[in-house]
Amino acid sequence: MSETDALEARLAALTDEDLSRGLDLFRAKLGGAEAAYLQTCVRCGLCADACHYHRTDHELASIPAHKLAQVAAVFRAHFTAAGRLAPGLTGARRFDRDMARAWVEALFGRCSLCGRCSLNCTTGIHIAAVLKAARGTLTEMGLIPADLLQVVTTSLETGNNMGISRDDWIETVQWIEEEMQQDVGDPAARIPVDKQGARVLFTVNPREPKFFPLCLQASATVLNAAGEDWTVAGEGWDLTNYGLFSASPAHGGAIAANLMASMDRLGCGTLVIGECGHGFAAARWEAAEWLQKRPGFRIVSFLELMEEYFQQGRLRVDPAKITERATLHDPCNTVRHGGIVEPQRAILRRCLADFVEMTPNRAENFCCGGGGGQLSMSRYRQKRLQSGGVKAEQIRRTGARLVVAPCHNCIDQLMELNREYKLGVVIKTVAEVVADALVRTPAQTLEEHHGTVAR
């Protein structure tokens, strides 16, 4: 049975008890903010062009207000007097099998939870927050696309979302370390594993050891060049957290606990989230809420840390080393949801001779189409590629040959867009750009570095 058929079968098999339980789950996910958001929309429709789905398919169902209306209709029908008294007047609709199907299509199939509509809502509705609450309801009802759930399950079962064994991870790290030593000409350059009491625990997206070892090598090169006292973890090293996309606090909390346990085990002072948008948002903003515990350490994006190195004079770069025109993609979870807006720009302005911004940029950026777990949901692949047309056009208009994207999900999507829309660009992380632009001083031992760098 195909994934699509399986989900259809689950929808068809929904009983009244399932639907009633779904309503209870939905109710439990609403706070005062969501309850207010659900009663605020005036259906002005000005959010339509904010959505990359609607911009590319022009379908009514892709308008954020329409997606919100699917959820608000249920809220009205079941939780408001007006909706019960006059459902036809207010657009209230009961949560039945058809409505559950409409939710699945709207929330998983036409939304990457990028939040651009929230910033563009004229009345101030955080639309993405409402859609996330409804998505979480579907997940807990078992109405989540199986391939998205599989990523979560793999994380829960193996500690990382690609099922990489500890031996493979350690072996890959050692191999990348050797490559880095040769590349920088410094046999003392290290990728420490499980170093107790290191100042920084650096966390990694499993796509790096699996498919993009040069990204990890670049990050390690930068950390070594800055003379950082750092380590990766032998266990609990994966920064990704697809609980953010299943929108289930149980998933998110269980996965986030891996990183927290690594911090406790190694006694590090700062948890550094490598270049991954959703990983950063999950660890920095959501983990504490899922676990209902304030972290006892600092959690920062690698972008922030690299910018700190520059400000402290710990890295030297030569922008003349990268002369091609470059632009920056703003991952939604890093920028709009994460609040990390300027560090990446400051870094790139130091490292690049010809850096141009996309239009729009920063928190107003367009989603590349790969967010919200879209990359893992095969049934929506065509829609995802179509919605990425907005980003492809943004890139094309810059005339850039190099696209810098501090997020692996974005990079995967951008690589597909590169092929689909024949953009002819190279895509790199910020750390790769920094590593390429580094001016390497004669080999120094880490101890010498540590002795000279004031912290």
């Binding site: 309850a35 007006a82 207010t90 107003e364």
Partner: protein, 209 residues
């Protein structure tokens, strides 16, 4: 006439109570404690959400739809002006609305612009395919009741003969407020505050362009 005035007051109180109940009920869904340390300021976010964040240039949605934005602003100014007129009427100070005076003339402009704004938004809604698709009967009814109220306030400024119609329209409008989308007169402020707090804490607000 006195009975109509009392009716308006009763309907107004009823609407206020119903809206307050709705706001309290929404609030009762709970506010979760936040554990992640803030990197920005929730207060600055709220100030931004109610200040620069509402300017026409702050959002792409309004930047790229200046006419819709202008109609909306005119409409809302007209509604506030009409409510002001109604209040003056209820307290017997309708002379303050006299179109022979400068404030009265300004009020007349706001009311006229407001009625045009409401009409413009009505036409826009049903002349635009995607807006038609989004619409429910509440959209038409809310607009007609509100635009009618503003237009009748403008008419009352010219002739006292329009007063009974204005008071009747006000009663209908006030009765409808808690039932449909006009409740955004309360939830707009609640939502914007939540939005400002959320993005302010994360350092996204104030937006940098």
């Amino acid at each position: 006439m006195e009975a109509l005035r009392i009716g308006v007051v009763v309907c107004g109180l009823g609407a206020a109570v119903a809206l307050a109940v709705q706001a309290v009920r929404a609030r009762a869904y709970g506010r979760r404690p936040l554990y992640a340390p803030a990197s920005g300021s929730a207060a600055r976010g709220v100030l931004y959400a109610f200040g620069p964040g509402m300017s026409p240039t702050a959002k792409e949605s309004t930047r790229t739809h200046p006419w819709a934005y202008a109609l909306g602003v005119a409409y809302h100014l007209g509604v506030f002006a009409a409510l002001g007129c109604l209040l003056l009427l209820l307290v017997g100070a309708e002379r303050a609305c006299d179109p022979a005076t400068i404030p009265g003339r300004a009020l007349g402009v706001l009311l006229f612009a407001g009625a045009l704004g409401g009409l413009g938004l009505f036409v826009r809604r049903y002349a635009t395919a995607h807006l038609r698709g989004l619409s429910v009967p509440d959209d038409a009814l809310a607009n007609l009741l509100t635009t009618g109220f503003v237009a009748l306030a403008a008419a009352r400024q010219r002739t006292p003969a329009a007063e009974p119609a204005l008071l009747a329209a006000a009663m209908l409008l006030l009765c409808y407020v808690p039932l449909g989308k006009i409740r955004h007169c309360v939830f707009f402020f609640v939502s914007r505050r939540h939005l400002g707090r959320h993005f302010g804490r994360r350092g996204t607000f104030p937006l940098r362009h």
